[in-house]
């Protein structure tokens, strides 16, 4: 059982809310993968399956006006921050009704109304941009917090190091969430990274760094809660390294020959979502009927979103030329 029992655990409502987010991510991912496998849809797909608890753990601390920045493997972050299911599906499918009119695609989901402000496909590049959101909040004296998500591999790129240092020096209200799934594309972290824990790097920039079991929703909730509160209070940034595992490799179609079979089997056997569900029931935080109702609602929501997206039109050809500048500019 991955979930910690602590006296200062979140209240029941929060626990169930976290489960609801996780379940939404899991169900959505499962639908994407089954539709891709059956050939109903075709797109480049980076499954977040296995990493659900991380997004759920920070998202329940955020307000709608807080910002989230994420990466191509971002579906879990998008859903956790509240990007609407229909528009999300439509964007993945390249439809005019998508979050970005079908022009950005899955790697660039953007929904400012939910606070999901940037999704980037360039490894590490969201980190400096997150600082900009933090700076804007600091300058305008709001207490908005920015959470920026990235992988273990991203901690080896210059943007990470420059961004971490600047955030510390300027005491920016940014929480750096390194979702350490142990691989960057086909390379295990140990072959690309000089430290055992990414969180060690925080010390080099003068900010707190913690490593947390990203598959333990309560532990993640605590770590994120502290970091977000610190940022909101104007005390500066924190690096959270959330240890997890990607169940389905780098992207859909990955042969995964570089991932030891036993390692993957063990990770999937310890699937954090059903484990959390069982923990909620065992500890009397929720009833079977309550969770089943949530799950049914999510399935219906996904059914509806799939139908909506599949029945939505492609963007009109004029859209090729709009949004390059504010006005069409030769």
């Amino acid at each position: 059982m991955a979930t910690t029992n602590r006296p200062d655990s979140p209240d029941r409502e929060t626990l169930v809310q976290m489960y609801e987010i996780q379940s939404k991510i899991k169900t959505t991912d499962e639908r994407f993968r089954s539709m891709l496998t059956s050939g109903q849809i075709q797109l480049i797909y980076y499954s977040p399956r296995g990493q659900e608890c991380i997004s759920a753990g920070y998202a329940v601390h955020l307000r709608p006006d807080d910002y989230v920045v994420t990466i191509y493997r971002g579906l879990h972050d998008h859903l956790a921050k509240g990007v609407p299911m229909r528009e999300l599906w439509a964007e993945f499918l390249g439809r005019s009704t998508g979050t970005c009119k079908g022009k950005g695609g899955p790697m660039h989901i953007t929904h400012p109304d939910s606070g999901l402000v940037v999704t980037t496909g360039i490894v590490g590049s969201g980190i400096p941009i997150a600082n900009g959101f933090g700076l804007a909040a600091q300058l305008s004296g709001t207490d908005q917090v920015t959470v920026v998500n990235f992988g273990d591999g991203a901690s080896n790129i210059g943007a990470f190091h420059e961004g971490m240092n600047m955030a510390a020096v300027w005491k920016l209200p940014v929480v750096f969430v390194c979702q350490n799934n142990l691989y960057g594309e086909h390379t295990p972290m140990s072959m690309s990274t000089g430290v055992e824990y990414i969180s060690e790097r925080a010390a080099a920039y003068g900010m707190p760094g913690v490593t947390v079991n990203g598959n333990d929703p309560v532990a993640m909730w605590h770590a994120a809660g502290e970091a977000i509160a610190r940022a909101r209070a104007g005390e500066g940034p924190t690096l959270i390294e959330a240890r997890t595992y990607r169940f389905y490799g780098h992207l859909m179609g990955d042969a995964m020959e570089y991932m030891p079979k036993e390692e993957r089997k063990a990770a999937m056997a310890a699937d954090p979502v059903p484990a959390f569900r069982a923990w909620l029931l065992e500890n009397g935080h929720a009833t079977e009927a309550q969770l089943a109702e949530i799950e049914d609602k999510i399935v219906a929501m996904v059914d509806d979103a799939v139908e909506f997206a599949m029945n939505s039109p492609e963007p009109s050809l004029d859209e090729l030329y709009t949004d390059v500048y504010e006005e069409i500019t030769k």
Binding site: K103, M107, V324
Partner: protein, 333 residues
Amino acid sequence: MTTTEPRIIPMGLALNEAMDIAMGLDEKVFLLGEDIAEPSGGVYKITKGLSTKYGTHRVRKTPISEAAIIGAAVGAAIAGYKPVAEIMIMDFIAVCLDQITNHAAKIRYMSGGQTTVPMVIRTSAGAGRQFGAQHSEMLEAWAVHTPGLKVVVPSNPADAKGLLISSIFDPDPVLFVEPMLMYWDPQYACDVPVGDNRIPLGKANIVREGKDVTVISYGKQVHDAVKAADILAGEGVSVEVIDLRTLVPLDEATVLASVSKTKRAVVVHEAVTRCGFGAELSSRIHEELFGTLAAPVARVGGQNTPVPYAKNLETAFVPQVADIVAAIKSLNK
């Protein structure tokens, strides 16, 4: 037994052979890039097997650190090695552009010729797979605009192999742009000679002879140009197709001789039209042949937009055979 049987292989394999041959010939040649070693052999499998054959000291898997990859290649090249660095997708060169433009390109000049940078940057590029705006661009014009860099864009497996071997042994830094869609697609496979089939940089290939109009292209669009030529042959228009192969050095002599003959030219590439390579080439043709042209040089290129995600928009972004046909017809009015 010697054989003259054609050996039809895809571009991905031809590139692998080129690196294999270069590494076998010269122990100063080494490869570096993300995921290029076994078991994956590169995300597009272009370096498959090479780390097993030559060792991981010569086929080096790197962290996700493009600036450090290119910087290390620059330093090692100055120190006498011949690095072949892989930048997985061309859009990512933006992350290491300082190392490319301020260092690889200028070091020979700034040092008065004392230090040189004989390295290759291999990168995959192009739209057509719905990878979105950050994974689909053709940015060769950035490099052409930077004196000191050579720029190669092969259009078929045999050229890819021959040009890559030449690039690796070239004394200058070469940006080697590999059209992603051509790697493993059997429709682009062709007969590739075994062994060291070096093709010199700066020598264009006349793919098809014609007398009414010259279409000049490179990379994947060469195939579209040939398709356009086929269509127009049926309408009595004779189209000459030139594959530039390398943009720097540029085989101006071949281009100008052809356009002198046909008096009409169309330049075709996938990259954004505005300030794309076609702008330069069109300008050079006008400068040299202005009085003799029967029509202004036409350009067919990508739209002046980022590359969109939705399939229909992406298709509308990329120049199509019909666009080339229309451009040629517009010159014959």
